[in-house]
């Protein structure tokens, strides 16, 4: 199938069930809320090496935050609630608590919760106090610029999805990057999803396993253009680069919407900047619970 001159593979993205949570980080200015959020999301690209996958979902206007200051919503995903909790605790403790003027609130309404404040609040060394307002409890931790306020609990979902993806294949590396950036920008407008890799883009797609003992993943040689003549390549002649967008979402529907938005953005640009083909990564359909067929997302 071709859309606007771009070939669309008859394949699907295979994704996995994940545990996820959301936070709203506020500060005196939108700039400092974003700094805290970006710092917290650092080294949060893949659960395999980073322990969690993190990213900014959206900016939250002051009118919608609990403290009336500008905020940023961050999503975190992990293999399980047990693996997510220490990541949450450490990232908030080291990156949000430390950021000037910051406060940290629940960003996901759910019946199941994680103990967001367990850890950061003990930084107060006994001076921390709680304030319960309605059904929500906030901890006030004295710090050197005033108080760090952190909500006691944050919502947890085990219906999250990690690993929705698109592979954009092209004949011009710089142009392909521009097209992929446009797709990431379109995905950023979809609520409840993140693209956790740098700028939302992965240039080092992986396959499962390695010739080296102990490595759980290694370069996806079938999609490496410089190995096109040396391995069983998936790439056609003329291909110079492949860029991947990995998508995590709080729901399967959100991931599907994000993939649909990314596909639409990329195909609307078409071949003008070197995009030739769009594919998706899977493991034969046997590992992941969620399958997103590209042809369904173009409808």
């Amino acid at each position: 199938m071709k859309v606007n001159g771009v070939a669309i593979d008859d394949t699907f993205a295979e994704a996995f069930g994940m545990s996820g949570t959301g936070l709203v980080i506020t500060a005196d200015t939108a700039k400092w809320a974003r700094i805290a959020a970006e710092t917290m999301c650092g080294f949060g690209t893949s659960v395999i090496g980073c322990g969690a996958e993190c990213g900014i979902d959206r900016e939250v206007p002051a009118a919608e935050t609990p403290d009336g200051r500008p905020g940023v919503r961050v999503l975190l995903f992990g293999f399980s609630p047990d693996s997510l909790l220490p990541q949450l605790r450490n990232r908030v403790g080291q990156c949000v608590l430390t950021s000037p003027g910051s406060a940290c609130f629940n960003g996901l309404d759910a019946e199941t919760t994680l103990a967001l404040s367990a850890g950061p609040r003990f930084f107060g060394d006994g001076w921390q106090t709680a304030k319960r307002l309605g059904k929500r409890r906030y901890w006030r931790v004295p710090v050197m610029d005033g108080e760090f306020v952190i909500e006691d609990k944050c919502g947890l979902t085990t219906d999250g999805v990690g690993g929705g993806n698109l592979l954009l294949i092209g004949s011009d590396r710089a142009g392909l990057l521009e097209t992929t950036e446009a797709a990431v920008a379109a995905i950023a407008k979809i609520p409840d999803v993140i693209t956790p890799f740098p700028g939302g883009i992965v240039r080092s797609g992986s396959k499962v396993g390695s010739k080296y003992k102990g490595a759980v993943a290694s370069t996806n040689d079938a999609f490496c253009p410089t190995l096109r003549g040396a391995t069983r390549s998936e790439l056609e002649p003329g291909t110079i680069a492949v860029l991947e967008i990995v998508i995590d979402g709080l729901t399967s529907a959100a991931v599907a919407s994000a993939m649909r938005a990314g596909l639409a953005a990329a195909t609307s640009i078409g071949t003008a900047k070197g995009l030739t083909r769009i594919s998706a990564g899977n493991y034969g359909g046997k590992l992941g619970q969620h399958h997103y067929h590209l042809k369904d997302l173009l409808a």
Partner: protein
């Protein structure tokens, strides 16, 4: 007016106790038995129907049309729905209330909202002493919910209070927040003599205090994030009854340092 309606037959000349009204109104046979609910506190037995003309059914709405300071226990144990009282109420209104809304269109006696766990209590007039306080022998006073009083209140409000919010648009009497262990008391009119004796935790917010205890330490004027949250929470919960939003900076006094000192008085007139 729909729901259960109690219309006062004649002015009262002795105290009555309505603390059993909510439970009785929720009973399946309320329509036939409610008028026989004992409400007397003296030697002569008094039934609800002797004092009030009872009409309507239980439901989620109870209206008391005509009341006085001799009617105790109004709204006690309310666990949802709405109760509206036209007139003053006596002691122990909203005692042990867990949810719903109690509107008192008049003034309240002592021990309003004692043991309150949830819901909203709104009083257009004033309230007596020991609002939200523990009764003798009880470990905790108010432990949740929100109380709004349009006028002033008496002494020792929030004694042994654990959680919840009290908003007073008028003045608060002496020793507010005594032995308080959590929660918030907010007054637009300011505190009387010596707020917060033996305050352990919790927040007292007001324009000023008639006299501050020596066991509170001045921490200076600060812009505190938690007050922004409180402003927003009260605006959402109370709507037009919410107090004026706090100024950007308040003066924080930590105490009572005669005890663990994790409480605070926040003075808005810095």
């Amino acid at each position: 007016m729909s729901g259960l309606v109690l219309r006062l037959r004649a002015p009262l000349d002795e105290r009555i106790d309505l603390s059993g009204l909510v439970a009785a109104a929720r009973a399946p046979s309320a329509a036939t038995t409610l008028a026989r609910l004992p409400v007397g506190g003296g030697r002569q037995p008094i039934e609800l129907g002797d004092v009030f003309h009872v009409s309507g059914d239980g439901g989620d709405r109870i209206v008391i049309d005509g009341s006085s300071g001799l009617v105790d226990g109004v709204g006690a144990g309310l666990d949802g729905g709405e109760m509206i009282v036209e007139g003053d109420v006596g002691q122990g209104a909203a005692r042990g209330m867990r949810a719903g809304r109690l509107d008192i269109r008049g003034s309240s006696g002592h021990h309003l909202a004692s043991g309150l766990r949830g819901g909203v209590v709104a009083v257009t007039g004033s309230a007596g002493d020991l609002l939200g306080a523990a009764l003798p022998g009880e470990r905790f006073g108010m432990a949740g919910g929100t109380v709004v009083v349009g006028g002033g209140i008496g002494a020792r409000a929030g004694d042994r209070m654990r959680r919840g919010t009290i908003v007073v648009h008028g003045k608060v009497g002496a020793a507010a927040g005594a032995r308080m262990m959590g929660g918030t008391i907010w007054t637009d009119g300011g505190f009387g003599d010596g707020p917060g004796p033996l305050l352990r935790r919790g927040t007292l917010i007001g324009a000023a205090a008639a006299r501050l205890l020596a066991t509170f330490g001045d921490c200076g004027a600060h812009d505190m994030v938690v007050l922004r949250i409180l402003n927003r929470h009260l605006a959402t919960t109370l709507g037009p009854l919410a107090p004026r939003p706090l100024p950007a900076k308040v003066r924080r006094l930590a105490g009572d340092l005669a005890t663990i000192g994790k409480g605070e008085i926040l003075l808005t007139a810095t």
